[in-house]
């Protein structure tokens, strides 16, 4: 990853969570991760906590989790805090769902569990064709749609939940298709 810039997300850590709001919803990606265990343990001290866990890393499970989350939040009152923990791809997908239901930035804590997971994924937006894809790569990846070799910039779009991918080699503007 390139050097961090103004738009590069800064995530919260388990240690900096305040636990001072009346109610919390935890949204967790991996039951087995150390951070998940730590959060689950901490949340036991807080009487008002709802926990949602992704039960499989397949796409239908994620859609199911987001649906469940929306249902939970529709019953909740303003002021509920949400803590999301998982890889970057997961936390920003959940974040978009939260914002859609009316949660504001300060009411959401995102914790990127990149260190304890194997192959943490993030989203990359190809600025050439507009395609968003998931990747485990850090610096370079190839666009699935237009095949341009992309440099993954640290420039991040919160709206898209993705890093900006730009053509890595100006001499090969069409990626693998360049002759």
């Amino acid at each position: 990853m390139m050097e961090a810039m103004h738009s590069t997300p800064r995530y919260q850590t388990v240690e900096t969570l305040q636990w001072n709001a009346p109610k919390y919803v935890l949204v967790l990606q991996h039951a087995a991760s150390a951070m998940t265990r730590q959060l689950t343990e901490m949340s036991k001290q807080h009487p008002q906590t709802v926990q949602l866990m992704l039960d499989s890393q397949q796409d239908p499970a994620l859609a199911g989790l987001l649906h469940e989350l929306e249902t939970v939040l529709q019953q909740e009152k303003a002021g509920v805090r949400t803590v999301v923990c998982g890889d970057e791809s997961f936390v920003w997908t959940v974040q978009q769902c939260l914002v859609g239901t009316g949660c504001l930035d300060e009411e959401i804590s995102l914790i990127a569990d990149s260190s304890s997971l194997q192959n943490p994924r993030k989203k990359v937006y190809c600025v050439h064709c507009g395609h968003t894809q998931h990747t485990v790569k850090d610096e370079l990846c190839s666009c699935e749609q237009c095949q341009v070799e992309l440099l993954i910039r640290s420039h991040f779009s919160e709206r898209l939940g993705a890093y900006m991918g730009v053509c890595a080699n100006a001499h090969q503007p069409m990626g693998a298709l360049s002759v």
């Binding site: 009346p22 009316g102 009411e107």
Partner: protein, 314 residues
Amino acid sequence: MNPTVPVHVTRIHQVTPMIREFTLAALDAPLQPFSSGSHVIVQLPVEGRIIRNAYSLLNAPYEQHQYQIAVRLQENSRGGSQYLHENIQVGDTLNISAPLNLFSLNSQAQHHVFIAGGIGITPFLSHMKYLLHAGHSFELHYACRDGISNAYEDMLMQLFHDQVHIYSEKTQRRLDIDALLSQQSLGSHVYICGPERLIHAVVDCAQMLGWSKKRVHWEAFSSPAPGVAFDAVLSKSQRRIHVPGDFSLLEALEQEGIEVPNLCRGGVCGQCATSYSQGEVEHLDHYLTVQERSAQLMPCVSRAKQGHCLHLDL
């Protein structure tokens, strides 16, 4: 600097014994359009000086041919509202600023909750007329005193019966802020206009409930409170000016021909923030952070502490 717009008064309506409504129309050029929640600064010549008071526009933003303001007669103040009540007649000309909005609706909110205290009802009249037209969801909670500050109560009950809740002696109801905020869903945003203690009560309650600060919007135009006279040294221009007790620092600077960019003149917009290097300041604004206050002040409302002289970077 906000240019001056001359307008003429086309209608004056006594809303309550204490509140007068003024309708203003264009004199030369057509009036600028405005969004709901906007205010104008009205210039009032009182005792050889110009007092500038901010008033919210209360008419619907679709009415582009006129501006309407409602003015509560304030006793023990600098005389701006008294001048409007006692001296201004239909046909008179007033100088105002172009409309400015520091209290707009949040575009992402799914439900707007308005809390008004007394004359603080005015920006919400414009918001509600707009929302009625746009078909968005809202409710109004209006605390007022019968016969004094219950402006537009009857009109509100007629137009928006189901969305309006009045708290007064007549209705024998009291506003329960905690109960009101506790029942709000995630799409709600709250707006307050009224006395400072009402704003504080709502802001504190929202914080207790875990709300983001960005869910709570408020507007409080406080005319600069009179204080103790003091001197200010202008470091860059090497001048010394005197600020009388009933002048704000901003007004005293303007009197001396020193222009400081400004918009709200009530300590909320931050435009007039000025750096200072010496002297102890009585900060009365709602804008600067504690850190910023060590080097900046807002001359529209803030003053020197008793016995201090301020050194400004002007």
